[in-house]
Structures are given as C-alpha cells and as structure tokens.
Symmetry: C2
C-alpha cells in the first residue's frame, strides 16, 4: 500500500522525519538533503517544503521531537541520579541523529515554541534528578552532572574516546558518573 495514491502520501511529514533520522544516523547531519528525502519517500523534490517550509524547518521539527524523546527517556530512568545520567548517554547513542541536531542550534530555529517547550520539559527532569541528591550548591551539582554526561556522550559520538573505554557506552558512563557522585 506504499504507492497506492499518487497524490496524498498519507503521512509524508512522518515519513520525511523518519528518513532524515535514518540518513543522519549513518552519514551525519551534513549529508542531509531535502531532495534525497523526497526521493526516498517517493514524492517530488518540492514536497518537503510544504510540510516544513525549508531545511531548517525540518530540523526544527526533528529537534522538538528529540527533546520530547529525551524527556521520555529521562522519565523512564527512574529516580536514581546515576541512572538518569546513564539514560542521558543511552539516549545520545541510541537517538544519535536527534541528539546531534538538538545541540547544534545553528541548524534549526531554536526559538520555535515547540522546541522551547520540549526543551524546558527535559531540562526540568534533569534538574529534579540532581536536586534529589545535592550536597553543595545544587546549581553547581546540576551543572557538573549535565556537563559530565553531555561531555561523555559527545566524545563517544565523535569517536574521540580511546578503545580502552570498551564497547558499552552506558557501562562506561555509569563508572564515570559514579566518580562525580560516589
């Protein structure tokens, strides 16, 4: 039932977002082309523009979706601070495409209402996760926690970490985070 209708793809918007994630997951954000996405979805080269306006529009939608998924992942991680940090790293690795767009605001419209809202939700979960532990200034703890998990995730994704770290990013992350919150 893929090409049943010449017009009206059915769910082009979702199909384009999914294709974008697939492309970026294997070739990085730089390899993204609206025309390629259109080809993959079997529509004309100008179809994406209708749903997203332009390339930045598509990436804006993808970033918003990403922050939603991150919030969800953090919620599912439970109450433990270390578990939350591990979940952050797990999200970055598993949803690599989303993660890479989310923290590259030059690629999309970071002031988009949907993005801002989802971003706030995820940020809140991160902060409350840390607030339960604290010790020193909770601000410092939160910032340190966010920095260490974000840094680990970013370094992992960029391939900069030495092989010695091992093949399992979440296991390694757990050890590193425990170093910050013994």
């Amino acid at each position: 039932m893929s090409q049943s209708r010449a017009y009206h793809h059915g769910d082009l918007r979702r199909a384009l977002l999914d294709a974008a994630v697939e492309v970026m997951a294997e070739s990085g954000p730089a390899a993204l082309s609206l025309r390629d996405l259109a080809r993959r979805a079997g529509v004309s080269h100008a179809a994406p523009a209708h749903h997203f306006g332009d390339k930045a529009g598509l990436l804006t939608a993808l970033a918003a979706q990403g922050f939603e998924l991150l919030a969800e992942a953090l919620r599912d991680a439970g109450d433990d601070l270390v578990d939350t940090g591990v979940a952050y790293v797990g999200f970055a690795v598993r949803r690599r495409a989303h993660f890479e767009v989310m923290f590259r605001p030059d690629l999309y419209r970071a002031d988009d209402p949907e993005v801002v809202a989802a971003q706030a939700r995820a940020g809140e979960l991160l902060r409350t996760g840390v607030a339960r532990r604290t010790g020193r200034g909770p601000d410092v703890d939160a910032l340190a926690a966010w920095s260490i998990v974000h840094g680990f995730a970013t370094l992992w994704l960029s391939g900069a970490l030495p092989p010695r770290v091992g093949p399992d990013p979440e296991a390694a992350a757990r050890i590193v985070i425990s170093r910050l919150f013994p």
Copy 2:
C-alpha cells in the same frame, strides 16, 4: 601589497584558513563555502582546490591546526589540574571554529597523519595533567575530567546553558571542575 601579484597570492593557504575561521566563528561550520573563501581572498573559485584538494581537505588542515593550538594552550596552563581544565574550556570558547571542527570527524579526514599526530600530543597533555592528581583509577579520573570539561564547553557553545551561569565561561568552568576534584 595585497593585490600586487595577479598570480601567486603569496600565502593563499594561510589566507584561506584564516578566512574559514572567521566565517565559522560567526556563522557556524555549515555556512562555510569554498567559493566564498576564494572570493574573500580575491582568487578564483577553484584556487582553494589546489591547496586542499577539496572541502574536507581544508577542514582537515584546520583540525590539525586546532589540535596543535589546543596542545599549546594546555601546555601554557601549567601543572594544576583545574587550570588545565579551565584552559580547555577557554580554548573551546576562544577558538570556537577550530574546536567545532575538531570534534566533528564527519567533516574531515580524521585519519590524516598530521591530525593524528597533533591529536596524540594534545591527548597526552590532557592525560598527564590528570595523572598528577589521581586517587581512584587514573583512567576513570582522566575520562571524568575530559568529559566534564568537554561537556561544559560544548553546552556553552551551543547556548544551552541557562543565563544564571553567568557571562564568564572560564569562571563557571572553574567552579564546576572543582566539584569533581575538590
């Protein structure tokens, strides 16, 4: 003496790299165009190809230069571990263009000999900085230290940090790093 010679720019290679840094510093790596760089240098649109082969070649040279500059910055930071971390963040902020390319290996040829060598030099400095402190497994300490400074720097550059953190990234970084190595 800028346009004294129609041919033989004099130092086109350096001029192109400098222009690339300038463009990326204000508009991000996505806005980089070889033809624009050529225009800024006053040469034809194909001149850059002679020096760098292609766009990835130019970014490879820029990444290698970046790792050299990072090594230099870490060396200048002295022996203290926290100072080294602050210097890392300072480098990311001050040499934003270099930093952003360095950790995006999909943009350049990460297996380039010059890059690998410079990368090794900088990594060595980072590791010895941590080794002087240690306590637990030095591997874990090093990884945690790198993660926290890299994460802070990345978050700062992406504009994701709340305004409350203040205007001075290095001051804020010092507090955060001290949280890891009290």
